[in-house]
Symmetry: C3
Subunit: 417 residues, 3 copies
């Protein structure tokens, strides 16, 4: 009877979802839903298993992870002819990696497992606990705070002086999604969307919601992140959001290069200041390399779109990100070309600000607020470029954005009170 119940349950859900999809332009399958008190643990859909004609070949798969610190974490894999995208709903919808032919967006972190947040203590290691789960290609930093750990002092809602210890890069990357679904456009070109809602909320705390969406058109080498952050609280709410995209081999290598249209480059500290002239080129894995962080002011076109690209030494493999500077006015470049075992990686990080502690960011006016009920959208388009021509074309677009603007290289970091 127990088994029977489960079968009935499953059939009911299947009919329900099919029914939802049938009447609409999209087929939607719900993977996780707090509202329905429902979570799938294994599931697969492919072009040949849907109730509409799909010219393209694709597959979306959900699996549960097992062993060590990843026991119970979930992974969604979107596979098209050109791309394989792996998304972690259990870790705030972070993107583990993206593979396209011989190019992988991702890196080799010393953290090898898809760490379930139940094993993460953000306050560990004096506020650096986040680093024990950090191995994704793309992790969102935020939402209440997104930067370096340390004490923030601020005026709270009641007008009183308050303080709070902030932990590195915030909480959102270690909160499991409450609602997760996969949607497929029934009409060509059958764009596939993975959508997840993550809440960062508490009593006497922020009431922030982010609806994340990763989508791609089967057959293309591009994909899109399209997120919406909403303040569900009654008060104006500060928030921070940094798209911490991380690249290792094969794009990152000796003489790889990052190209960004920018007005200026400022080192985050004195150490980075010494190497600011070489901010855009990379060395190979270097034991003892100390991270260098550079703060850029991206230049955008008339539609507020800016662009940056990382390409390999030969200039025949690259990955680009394009975004709106109205949404994300700042770009951080994180160079950590350390030994392979330490994590050889560079970050291209469009954000609402830079990764200083929120206390510092607030001083510089880089902590935006959302009014009650207000939402902001963040759209980032990523491309993976194969061949010298493709890389050159993107480089040309970025050069066009740069135009005659000379890049100001500052040797000194910002003066922080």
């Amino acid at each position: 009877m127990f088994v029977l119940f489960r079968v009935v349950f499953t059939v009911t859900f299947t009919l329900l979802f099919t029914a939802i999809g049938f009447a609409q332009q999209q087929q939607e399958v719900i993977l996780t839903s707090v509202e329905r008190n429902f979570q799938r643990r294994e599931w697969e859909i492919r072009d040949t298993s849907v109730n509409f004609d799909s010219a393209a070949t694709w597959k979306v798969k959900l699996e549960e992870m097992h062993g060590g610190k990843q026991e119970g974490a979930h992974l969604i894999t979107v596979q098209t002819e050109k791309l394989t995208i792996r998304i972690i709903p259990t870790r705030g919808m972070s993107i583990l990696d993206v593979q396209s032919g011989d190019v992988r967006l991702g890196w080799q972190s010393p953290v090898k497992e898809v760490v379930h947040p139940k094993h993460i203590r953000l306050s560990d290691r004096d506020g650096l606990g986040w680093l024990e789960g950090f191995n994704e290609w793309m992790v969102r930093c935020g939402l209440e705070f997104a930067g370096h750990p340390g004490k923030d002092e601020f005026i709270n809602n009641t007008g009183d002086q308050a303080e709070m210890m902030l932990t590195l890069h915030g909480k959102i990357g270690n909160i499991p999604a409450s609602e997760v679904s996969v949607l497929i456009d029934k009409k060509p070109p059958n764009r596939i969307y993975v959508r997840g809602t993550v809440y960062e909320r508490g009593f006497y705390g922020p009431k922030l919601k982010i609806i994340t969406e990763v989508s791609t058109v089967p057959g293309s080498s591009t994909f899109r992140i399209n997120d919406t952050v909403t303040n569900e609280g009654a008060f104006d709410q500060e928030f921070q959001l940094i798209y911490h995209g991380n690249f290792g081999a094969p794009l990152l290598e000796k003489d790889a290069k990052v190209i960004a249209a920018t007005k200026s480059v400022t080192p985050m500290n004195a150490h980075a200041g010494k190497a600011v002239k070489k901010y855009d080129t990379y060395v190979g894995p270097t034991k003892g390399f100390i991270e260098e962080v550079y703060l850029l002011e991206p230049i955008a076109d008339k539609d507020s779109r800016s662009m940056a690209m990382l390409h390999n030494a030969a200039g025949d493999r690259g990955a680009s990100v394009a975004w709106s500077t109205k949404q994300l006015p700042y770009l951080t470049i994180w160079k950590n070309t350390a030994a392979t075992e330490s994590g050889y990686v560079t970050g291209l990080e469009p954000g609402t600000g830079y990764p200083f502690n929120r206390k510092v960011e607030r001083q510089f006016g880089r902590v935006p607020k959302l009014k009650p009920g207000q939402s902001r959208q963040f759209t980032l388009d990523f491309g993976i470029h194969h061949g010298k021509d493709a890389v050159d074309t993107v480089a040309g677009k970025i050069a066009e954005l740069q135009g005659d603007t000379k890049v100001k290289l500052h040797k000194d970091p910002p003066k922080v009170k």
Copy 2:
């Protein structure tokens, strides 16, 4: 063979429980047992499925929660003709809410999920991490400590000066129950009990046990909490216990009122002191309302029973709590009539003390101790009252308790060293 094993296992357990029940006055079904290394994930019993005659209609259900931060949490629902009580064994047997007709004991917290303790870090937000899971109608604060966060300084068992950082409202609400069972009286009126044992213990720490029990008689609008706290350690053990009952709409609204038989009302801080005269009436949801906490000295009858009630503006819906002042000598009223999005809520909180930090409570002699092996019982009776007559009857009882005693309203908070 594996499947076979499970079937045999299940049958064995069923026979076992049936056998236990058959010989006794009660039918008992074990839902969770560390001793038996056993936990059910789905289960249901109803009046028509038991091996005795039940005149009343009722149902008890266990389900597992899914999605977001509630993945893996369990929920027990007791449903009678008059009441629906939802209990969370995973969160220390807290009571999520109680529904009776159009009255709900409960509130709309910004925390919407039944948060599994694995996602709670009590030390977060400088000791306020508890608030990220707080959305229950009734949560017990305790047992080692129950009040505000901050450093406590005390003399430890070895006679040395010691100190420890305490976190808000203690640990018991974020510890999953070790033993959980449902019991039903075989004889009319077939009282239903949900019993859960929660341990708060550690090496070089307290060895406290609480056996919680929620029970109701099918057909009535009343229910009872009947808890027993035991010190299983070798030393006298301090403990604190506050029954943090939280009410929102529909009982709480503009001009709702709390009635309590009390000798005095003292504000917890200067801010609350300004509004002490209006301590017993409520405003509607008010953006920017800062919490007001009032400390009451309840008056009891000759059997040491005191009583308090919250009723709506019209005075035709109410909820009451009656308890022994020998068991719980203090009553705290927490007013947090903030904006709906922030959590519009008031707390009626009988306790062994007030919610100051344990350091303060100790100064005022409000931290009781249990000798080795000693137990204390705590019985609270709750009623839900429909109609003006019913509310007036309870108000009359409380007025009788109050008698001629004039309520002393203190404007100043207690002087805390």
Copy 3:
């Protein structure tokens, strides 16, 4: 179809493992594997169910724990004619206890459950959170740090002054194993091995790996721990490792005795200094007994093997440990003969150092380093001795190690800066 998939999946794995075993000297069954994204939850093997002839009688079983804080933890039980060994893969391969006839290696901790690490916050209670899960016979302390909590100040990899709050006894005992397997020698005497790999690693943190192994020959009363610690990072890496073996009744009792070949005995603090003369004898359960810790310099034979034994008052039941002082040069004896309810227990703890904070251990040159890629092995042999003759034989061996060396009893603890 879903069910079918699981069956196929299971069969595939079974064939795979059988195939692996068939070609080798050992039959290996994988219980957990991050690499294969695989974890068993229930499983059993016995001498009659293998594809080779086993003269001995034995059984190995995996089960999942349920209820309270142990929900989801796993337990492996190795059962031979002489020994029952219970290992906790979810808690860093700690050994819960070992039973041999009427002797149990283990103790009665106030912590009664096999606590899943998701419920442990090491930084709780000012760095003593580890104690809320502490109830094993053998728990490894380490690997990045292994001693008392508190701030460590040190020079980091980049040559800068750094500091970090350390928590009691380190992390390794609260990290679930990533790879777990059971191996059985196909040839007599059919030694059984339980092997587990645990990683303690993070970005900007240590990259330490420990392959743990517990093994026994069916029919014998001895068993072996054989661990290998490897530095997978690019830099020289400090590490600490203490084998925190804990014994209660029946071995520990009034007039029980610990025998160790040692050059000297030094109290860890002034309190222990007062009782240094009685460092090797025990009182019965004593309410208010404050722990005494003694630091020993073990004497080894020409093969660097030292030995220690705890035996009961009658001298007819004992447990011994033998190890290499090249691997583990130090021995700590922890006496905590407190009341039964508090945890009546003594620890025999061979280690790479003593359990001071790492800051102190470093001052005394007791924090070893591993070069990149370097491994160190740790082999400990345990015996359980029944009868006066058996105990006397071991005592004789230890006396032989001691020889004419007089034990220096220091009254004062080491001078710590």
